[in-house]
C-alpha cells in the first residue's frame, strides 16, 4: 500500500513538473526591453518560459487571467547572508564567517534551505539570492547563488565571487591594498602541485592556506569577480586603478560616494551593489551619502545592483523598497527592476535567470500591484515553474493570534 502511495506521489509530482501554466492578460516586464508588455500572455512548460506573446491560444493545464496584473522575474538579492544566519546575536545559529580560512572560505556547504528566513524573504519577492560571507575582512571568502525554494537542491552556482574590504580593521587602507597586491603576487606564483606554500615576502602575521590561494587564483584568472566594500570616492578611484593594473573583474559594494566618481566607474565597466536607503553619513568614509546615488550612477552608465542592508539579511527582500525610493529620487522604474533582477544575474554570471526570456527558468512573480510599492505583495511566486507556498512561520503566528485558538 505504501509503495502504491509512493508511486502515486512520484507520478503526481512528475506530472506536476511537466505541467503547463498559462497567464493571460498580464503586464509583463521581461527585462529584455525597457517597456512593460501590456495585455500579454506568458506560457510556462516544464518549468521553463516557453512563450510570451500578445495572444497565446494553446491550452494549458492551468490558466490564470491576470486582468492586467504585473509579472516580473523573481527578484535576486545581490548580497545577503540567507541560509547562513537564523538569529544575529546567537552565534550558534551563524555560519557566515571563518577565522580558519580567508579567501578560500566557501559558505556553500553551510547553507540551510530550511531557515525561516527563506520562505519569509521568498514571500517578500526574492526567488533567489547571493549568500556571501560576512566579516568585512581583507578577504572574507566566497559567496554562492541559491534559489529560495527551500529544497535541498537550492544551490544555483557555487563560489561565484570573492568578497573583501580594504577599510575595516584599523590598518591603513594603503597597507591593506599593499597586502592584497602581495597576496595576489603570491597566488600568481603558487603552484597547486607544490607541497608547501612559500609565504616569504608577506608580513609575518599573514598566513594563507592552499584553498585561500586557489580562490584568489580564480579572481586573477577572471573566472569570478572580487567584490570589495568601499564607500569613499577616493578609495573607489584607487580600486578602479587597482583592478585595471591587476587585470581583475571588480564589483564595488556600498559605493556611497559613487556618484562623485560615476564617470570613472562607467568607463571602467565596474558594477556597483547599492543599498539605496543608506543615506546617512555614518562614517567619515561616506560623508557624501545621498538618496540620489542610484539615479546618478545609472545616468552615468554604471550598472547598478540593489541590495537592502548588509546587516539586515532578515529583511533582504526590502531591496524592493530601496529600489522604490531610488525611483522616487530619479532612477527609471525599469532600471530599478533591472537592478533587482538581470543586473544581478549578469554581473555574477547566473545563467537563465533574472529576465523572462524563452528558455529561462520560470522564476517569476505575479504581483497584486506595482512591485516597488511598499503596499504591494506577491500573489503567486514560481521557482522553475513550481508554485511556491505562501506560508511562513510569521503567517502561522499571525493566524494563531488572530483566530485566538
Amino acid at each position: 500500500m505504501r509503495i502504491v502511495n509512493l508511486l502515486l506521489v512520484l507520478i503526481i509530482s512528475n506530472f506536476a513538473f511537466s505541467e503547463s501554466i498559462l497567464f493571460k492578460n498580464a503586464s509583463i516586464y521581461t527585462g529584455d526591453s525597457t517597456e512593460i508588455l501590456k495585455e500579454h500572455d506568458l506560457l510556462i512548460v516544464d518549468g521553463k518560459i516557453s512563450d510570451i506573446r500578445s495572444d497565446i491560444t494553446i491550452s494549458a493545464d492551468k490558466v490564470f487571467n491576470l486582468g492586467g496584473k504585473i509579472i516580473t522575474a523573481g527578484f535576486i538579492s545581490p548580497f545577503t547572508h540567507l541560509g547562513l544566519i537564523e538569529i544575529n546575536q546567537i552565534a550558534a545559529t551563524r555560519d557566515d564567517s571563518s577565522d580558519l580560512y580567508s579567501a578560500g572560505f566557501s559558505i556553500s556547504q553551510a547553507f540551510n534551505p530550511s531557515s525561516t528566513l527563506i520562505p519569509y524573504n521568498l514571500n517578500g519577492g526574492l526567488t533567489s539570492a547571493i549568500s556571501a560571507p560576512s566579516g568585512n575582512r581583507l578577504f572574507s571568502g566566497l559567496g554562492s547563488a541559491f534559489s529560495l525554494s527551500g529544497n535541498t537542491d537550492s544551490l544555483i552556482s557555487r563560489d561565484i565571487a570573492l568578497y573583501g574590504s580594504i577599510g575595516a580593521d584599523g590598518e591603513s587602507k594603503a597597507a591593506n591594498i599593499l597586502l592584497i597586491e602581495d597576496t595576489f603576487e603570491l597566488a600568481r606564483k603558487f603552484n597547486e602541485d607544490s607541497s608547501e606554500i612559500q609565504e616569504f615576502g608577506l608580513p609575518d602575521s599573514v598566513k594563507y592556506s592552499k584553498r585561500d590561494l586557489l580562490a584568489i587564483k580564480r579572481v586573477l584568472n577572471k573566472e569570478i569577480p572580487m567584490v570589495v566594500s568601499i564607500n569613499r570616492a577616493s578609495d573607489i578611484i584607487t580600486m578602479i586603478d587597482f583592478a585595471k593594473n591587476q587585470d581583475i573583474k571588480l564589483v564595488i559594494m556600498g559605493a556611497s560616494e559613487g556618484w562623485m566618481v560615476s564617470s570613472q566607474l562607467a568607463e571602467s565597466n565596474i558594477p556597483v551593489i547599492l543599498e539605496p536607503i543608506n543615506n546617512l553619513p555614518a562614517s567619515f568614509d561616506r560623508l557624501g551619502s545621498r538618496l540620489e546615488n542610484a539615479a546618478l550612477l545609472n545616468d552615468a552608465g554604471v550598472k547598478i545592483l540593489i541590495a537592502y542592508d548588509e546587516w539586515e539579511t532578515h529583511n533582504a527582500y526590502l531591496s524592493r523598497q530601496g529600489a522604490g525610493i531610488a525611483v522616487s529620487y530619479g532612477l527609471p522604474w525599469h532600471e530599478a527592476i533591472n537592478a533587482l533582477t538581470k543586473n544581478v544575474s549578469d554581473t555574477f554570471n547566473i545563467p537563465n535567470r533574472g529576465s523572462l526570456l524563452i528558455g529561462h527558468h520560470a522564476d517569476l512573480i505575479v504581483w497584486d500591484a506595482d512591485p516597488l510599492e511598499v503596499t504591494s505583495f506577491p500573489e503567486q511566486i514560481y521557482i522553475s515553474g513550481k508554485l511556491m507556498s505562501p506560508n511562513t512561520r510569521s503567517l502561522m503566528l499571525r493566524d494563531r493570534y488572530l483566530n485566538k485558538d
Binding site: 546575536q89 546567537i90 543608506n278 529583511n315
Partner: protein
C-alpha cells in the same frame, strides 16, 4: 593633622545628628527651571494653505480644504477661507497634507552620524540602574541625521537613552529645529520620560559582571528600586537623590514610562510590577510580540510603539508578524493605541512608508484600516504617548502649526515631502536648496565650498 581630622569627624557627627533632628524639613524639590526649554518660534504671520487633501490625524480625511495659520498655530480648517491682505498663500491643490510626523523612539543626537566612539553617548552602561542620567545631557545638536529626518516630515522626536539598563535614564522630547543648544530644541512643557528596558539587553550587558544575568534578575532589579522610590517619596529624606527624583516623578505621574519590551509574557509581568507600585506604563517600545497581548495592552491603556517589519536580530525579536501594528490598533473594538516608531535614523526619514507597510499588512489580514486611521500611528498616537497631544499630532484649531505637504499620497514609496513646517515656519521646502539648514558639521565637509545636503 590627626587632631584636625578628629575635628572634622566631630563636626560631621554633629551634622548627621542635626539631619536626624530636622528630618521633617522637606528637602529641596527638583526645580522645573533647570535645563528649561528656550525654544521660541519666530512669528509666523498669516499663512493660508489652499486646496489640499488633508489627513487631519483626528481620524478624518478632508478633500479640497484650506488651512489658515496665524501666530504659529492653526486657526481654521474649512472649505473656503479668504486670505487676508498680509496672508502668504500656499497652493496645495493635488497635494496631501498631514500633521508633522512624530517619532517616539529616536537616538538622534545621542547616537549621531558620523558614528564615532567620541559621540556615542546613548547608554550609560556602567550600572543597570541609572535613572539619574538624562539623554538631553548627551545630545549633540549638530547631528547630521536631524535635517534628513526633517526632509522626511519628522517635526517632533523623542530621544531616549539606550536599552542597556533596567532604568536607562530620562528621555526628552524635541522639536526638529536647528539650534546651538538642546534647550533651544526642547518641546516647551513636554513631560519628561523614563526609559526602562526588559529582556535580553540588560542581562547581556551585565550578565558576566554585577548582574542581572536573568530575566528574573531584571524584575527583581525593578522592584528593589521602586521600593526605594516609594520610601523616598513618603519619607522626608534630607538630601536629594537624582535617581530617586526621577522614580518619584514616575510615581507622582509626572514622568512617563517608556518601556523597551519585546516579549508578550514580559509585558504582562511589567504591567503587574506597575500595578504593585502603582505607576503607569505609557508605552511598550519595540514590542515585537505586542500582537500576542494586544487585548491586555488595550485594557490597560498602554500604547505599543512598533516597527513594521524588523526582526531576527535577537531571540526576543524572532516572532515578528507584519500585522503587529494592525492587531494592536484593532484590539478591543479598535481602542488599541498603535505607534509606528523608527529607532533608526534611516527609518525616521520615512515613517510614512513604514506605516504604509503596516497598514497594507493589516488590510491583507482582513482589517478595515483606512489611511485616515493609519496616519494616527505616526502623529496622534505618539503625541498622546508623549503627553503632548494637546498641542501636536493633529491638525485642529489651536494646535501648533506642525505640518507636512506631500507631493502625492504619503502611503506610497514614491511620495516625497514638498514642505515641512514647524510652528508655522517653513523648515524644508523642496524648491529651496538652502533648506533644510545644514548642521555645523556639514558646512564645507564635502569640499571647502560644498556642504553636505
Amino acid at each position: 593633622m590627626e587632631r584636625y581630622l578628629l575635628y572634622i569627624f566631630f563636626l560631621s557627627f554633629l551634622y548627621s545628628c542635626s539631619s536626624e533632628i530636622f528630618d521633617n524639613t522637606p528637602r529641596e524639590p527638583e526645580s522645573n527651571d533647570v535645563f528649561a526649554s528656550t525654544y521660541q518660534p519666530s512669528p509666523s504671520g498669516d499663512i493660508l494653505i489652499t486646496g489640499g487633501r488633508v489627513l487631519t490625524g483626528t481620524g478624518e480625511e478632508l478633500e479640497d480644504v484650506d488651512i489658515l495659520i496665524k501666530d504659529n498655530v492653526i486657526q481654521e480648517i474649512s472649505e473656503t477661507i479668504t486670505p487676508g491682505s498680509d496672508s502668504i498663500v500656499i497652493d496645495a491643490e493635488g497635494k496631501w497634507i498631514t500633521p508633522g510626523i512624530i517619532d517616539i523612539h529616536s537616538h538622534m543626537g545621542v547616537y549621531p552620524a558620523p558614528s564615532l566612539r567620541s559621540n556615542s553617548d546613548g547608554n550609560e552602561a556602567t550600572s543597570p540602574v541609572t535613572p539619574h542620567v538624562w539623554a538631553e545631557h548627551s545630545f549633540w545638536t549638530q547631528d547630521t541625521q536631524m535635517p534628513l529626518a526633517l526632509k522626511g516630515g519628522t517635526t517632533t522626536f523623542h530621544v531616549l537613552p539606550g536599552s542597556a539598563n533596567l532604568f536607562g535614564g530620562r528621555g526628552v522630547t524635541l522639536k526638529n529645529v536647528w539650534s546651538k543648544t538642546v534647550q533651544g530644541m526642547k518641546f516647551p512643557g513636554a513631560p519628561y520620560t523614563l526609559k526602562m528596558a526588559c529582556g535580553e539587553n540588560p542581562k547581556r550587558v551585565y550578565g558576566s559582571g554585577s548582574g542581572p544575568s536573568t530575566r528574573m534578575g531584571n524584575v527583581a532589579g525593578y522592584r528593589v528600586e521602586w521600593i526605594k522610590a516609594k520610601e523616598y517619596r513618603d519619607k522626608p529624606y534630607k538630601t536629594r537623590d537624582l535617581k530617586l527624583d526621577t522614580l518619584q516623578g514616575v510615581l507622582n505621574g509626572e514622568i512617563l514610562v517608556q518601556n523597551h519590551c519585546y516579549r508578550g509574557e514580559e509585558m504582562a509581568v511589567m504591567i503587574d510590577v506597575a500595578k504593585e507600585f502603582n505607576y503607569k506604563i505609557t508605552t511598550f517600545h519595540h514590542a515585537v510580540e505586542a500582537y500576542k497581548v494586544a487585548d491586555m495592552l488595550a485594557e490597560n491603556n498602554i500604547c505599543a510603539a512598533l516597527w513594521a517589519d524588523w526582526w531576527g536580530f535577537k531571540h526576543e525579536a524572532f516572532d515578528m508578524v507584519w500585522e503587529n501594528v494592525a492587531i494592536v490598533d484593532q484590539a478591543k473594538g479598535g481602542t488599541g493605541c498603535a505607534i509606528v516608531h523608527s529607532d533608526s535614523a534611516i527609518g525616521i526619514q520615512r515613517l510614512n512608508q513604514e506605516a504604509a507597510k503596516a497598514m497594507a499588512a493589516g488590510i491583507r489580514a482582513g482589517f478595515d484600516i483606512p489611511k485616515k486611521r493609519a496616519i494616527q500611528w505616526i502623529t496622534k498616537n505618539p503625541a498622546k504617548a508623549l503627553g503632548i497631544d494637546d498641542r501636536v499630532g493633529t491638525l485642529e484649531k489651536g494646535k501648533m502649526a506642525d505640518l507636512v505637504i506631500w507631493d502625492s499620497d504619503p502611503f506610497s514609496v514614491y511620495s516625497k515631502t514638498e514642505l515641512v513646517m514647524i510652528d508655522g515656519i517653513i523648515k524644508y521646502d523642496s524648491s529651496d536648496p538652502s533648506t533644510p539648514k545644514p548642521t555645523d558639521f556639514e558646512l564645507g565637509i564635502i569640499s571647502p565650498d560644498e556642504n553636505r545636503l
